[in-house]
Assembly symmetry: C2
Homo-oligomer: 232 residues x 2
DNA sequence: CAGTGGTCTAGACCACAGC
DNA sequence: CTGTGGTCTAGACCACTGC
């Protein structure tokens, strides 16, 4: 093995967990014992345990020991960008409207603002191979540095509209995914004549103080999108 | 501050990144410089940098230095369990059928098996407050220790069916989410009389060798489910 | 009290980048 | 060659746990 010692420790303990030699709740040998077993110093052992803790295999309790963790079986990682998804890529976008509105009660509530604040509303259609596949509405609180040129808005993702490249680490986002039947307006925009379900993805952006700064709702033709997620 | 030094280092660098004092691609001060700046030993500095690397803020290149990373803006974490979701909780399940079938070409393909292998098919209905809200089909490769008592199958999640509590860390899962129009059979099962969209979640389980061991398709009434995800 | 993990030091040697 | 990060040591002191 060219691997460093701490990797060997990690692999060995992973093997024990995966072969049920160590079960969730079981205690991992104390650091001093592992030091002796592998003939290394404590910092090396701790490096290995830190990796295991980080990957969700174990957790440590000061004064007691390290324990095998119950895995989070229901956790998935999903990559979503309104312009790219698992079946198709948006290759074009058309701006339907960009206006400044006063929010109705529902929107004001969702954005946690009073109804006398102004909100920018952007409505777009997304195309793939010339076919309209999604109807997209965004509501943004105005802030300095936002793109105001229509050409910029047309092709921008939510990120690009709100964060002008700057404190992107601080942004928090939530999405919620649902299935809906299109209303007449969306049917017209997406050329839907038969029964067809929409996959509706709502994005909500928060600044570092957890205040909403934008809401986006993208309604995809159900036959043109599939979102995918992975465990790990 | 009662915080350890490495936490201070982490916070300071995070602040610099979030205030754009350090931009993606910029180089982080070398470890030796940080040692001097904070008056600590190198291991302490490295502990801080390791945390930042782990949280996706920086990455290190041996022989060169540490750099600020572009954040993964499109990454979301989603918790999904066929029995629990954001609007409703499945409080009851009814077993429709459990049989052993020979897979058709499509299924054999998806499970990467030959068509002469046997597959267990389980069909269920999920209820909330006595209302059927989802139609669920699972296909499982038979393996030792699987629940065979109907009462067990009825209330089991996918996890519980496949992994009998053992090497759960090794399991990999994928989900894909789509919106569909129900067929006549599902309409009957879910008491759908009007137009209603289905949120369809397909789960696929793989063992540690990346071979599929089970496929599950759960079709929820669109008005009863909403999946949610978070960045971070 | 002894044993545990949490923090930290002041060194060391290595492999690797770039000049 | 110097400077960088990657690995590792052999100690230290602390706070906490459980007896």
């Amino acid at each position: 093995m060219a691997d460093p010692v701490y990797i060997k420790i990690v692999d060995d303990i992973k093997k024990m967990v995966n072969s049920a030699e160590l079960k969730p709740g079981d205690i991992v040998p104390p650091e001093t014992a592992l030091c002796k077993e592998y003939g290394v110093s404590r910092m090396t052992v701790r490096k290995g345990l830190a990796i295991l803790a980080n990957e969700g295999y174990i957790f440590s309790v000061p004064g007691k020991g390290s324990y095998v963790k119950k895995p989070e079986v229901n956790k998935y990682t999903l990559y979503y960008d309104e312009m790219n998804n698992m079946i198709n890529r948006v290759d074009n976008a058309r701006l339907l409207e960009v206006t400044i509105i006063m929010p109705d009660e529902k929107l004001a509530n969702e954005m946690k603002i009073t109804r006398n604040k102004h909100v920018i509303m952007i409505r777009r259609l997304f195309y793939t191979d010339g076919v309209p596949i999604a109807y997209d509405v965004k509501y943004l609180l105005y802030s300095k540095g936002m793109p105001i040129v229509e050409k910029e808005i047309e092709q921008a993702t939510f990120q690009e509209m709100v964060s002008n490249g700057l404190p992107i680490f601080a942004l928090k986002k939530r999405i919620s995914i649902s299935a809906q039947i299109p209303n007449e307006e969306i049917k017209r925009y997406l050329n839907i004549y038969d029964e067809l379900a929409l996959l509706v993805v709502e994005q909500k952006l928060y600044n570092s103080e957890n205040k909403p700064i934008g809401i986006g709702v993208t309604s995809y033709r159900g036959d043109y999108i599939k979102l995918q997620g992975n465990s790990d």
